[in-house]
């Protein structure tokens, strides 16, 4: 048995016995080594240091909540914690990949006017886009309203005009203002989609 394995096993024993400082010693001994394992295993563009740190912390907190789940006969504590952290990492990266794919699908839909009417099931994705990318998509609060209407498949120019405060404008002014906003938003969404 290696020195580290024996030391960690002793910490595990102390944790089971209720020693309150053992958790702190465990963090000190093993948190950074777990982070190193995670960042070695994954592309840094997908997994930041902050992510890796949080995942290592999650693994340790999970273990400290349920220390009896660790079976010293089956693996070392370090391997066990790395396994927990790697599992959470895969879940995190898969969730992010799914979010990116949803966003891409949404943007692809937007690129094709014919599909906008079919987008009523994408409301949640729209909200994700609004909350995450709103700062770079919108110039003002009216842009948010216009995007929501676009994603709801709205076709009526008067509805758009009312949403941007031009309900009483002339038809020509409404058409111009609505088209300008929609074109600008679609252009920014396409740019966002290309970057994702």
């Amino acid at each position: 048995m290696t020195d580290r394995r024996a030391a960690l096993l002793e910490l595990h024993r102390r944790i089971l016995a209720g020693d309150p400082s053992a958790s702190s010693e465990l963090f000190s001994a093993i948190h950074r080594p777990i982070v190193r394992v995670l960042v070695r295993s994954h592309n840094h563009k997908l997994l930041s240091f902050d992510d890796a740190g949080d995942l290592a912390t999650d693994a340790l907190l999970d273990y400290l909540q349920h220390p009896t789940k660790f079976d010293p006969e089956r693996s070392s504590l370090f391997s066990y914690l790395c396994m927990l952290a790697k599992g959470d990492t895969l879940n995190l990266l898969q969730a992010r990949r799914r979010e990116r794919e949803k966003t891409l699908r949404l943007v692809e839909f937007l690129q094709d006017e014919r599909n906008i009417a079919e987008m009523d099931t994408c409301t949640l994705d729209a909200e994700t886009i609004i909350s995450r990318y709103g700062a770079e998509l919108f110039d003002d609060k009216y842009d948010v309203q216009v995007l929501r209407l676009m994603l709801a498949g709205e076709k009526d120019t008067d509805t758009y005009a009312s949403a941007i405060g031009l309900g009483s404008a002339t038809k020509a002014d409404k058409n111009t203002a609505v088209k300008q906003r929609r074109d600008r938003l679609e252009k920014r969404l396409r740019r966002l989609g290309a970057r994702l």
């Binding site: 702190s24 190193r36 960042v39 240091f49 290592a56 340790l60 907190l61």
Partner: protein, 127 residues
């Protein structure tokens, strides 16, 4: 890439901040002591300690409540973190008192308000 992993102190400080949301840890009681905030520098200043000591303290589990274990645990945490046992006991008791106050349990509040602990049979040399 892995060589640029943040240093241990930075990583542990971030982990310690996470414990502010977990009642199992002293970090939670420290946050309660600071009325919900967990600023390492502020706590270190208040306690007259360096931030590493506060991180070590935050990552300890809270002392067990039974009278025979409470003092033992507080001294163990003190020996590990370098923060005085009296200070730790005061933080724990204050957090308990605040929790009791919020729940309206006056008996628990009175017990929690007793922030003195009996010295251990042989006090650790760090204290």
């Amino acid at each position: 890439m892995s060589d640029r992993v943040p240093d241990k102190g930075t990583l542990l400080a971030a982990a310690a901040k996470r414990t502010a949301n977990d009642p199992m840890f002293m970090g939670f009681l420290l946050a309660s002591h600071r009325r919900g905030g967990f600023n390492l520098a502020d706590i270190a200043t208040e306690f007259g300690m360096n931030e590493a000591s506060i991180v070590a303290l935050a990552l300890c589990r809270c002392p067990r409540q039974s009278p025979e274990l409470f003092a033992k645990d507080v001294y163990a945490i003190a020996a590990h973190s370098g923060v005085s046992a009296e200070r730790i006991a005061a933080v724990v008791r204050r957090a308990d008192a605040l929790a009791a106050l919020r729940s309206g349990d006056s008996a628990q509040m009175m017990a929690a308000a007793q922030d003195e602990i009996d010295p251990p049979p042989t006090a650790p040399s760090k204290l």
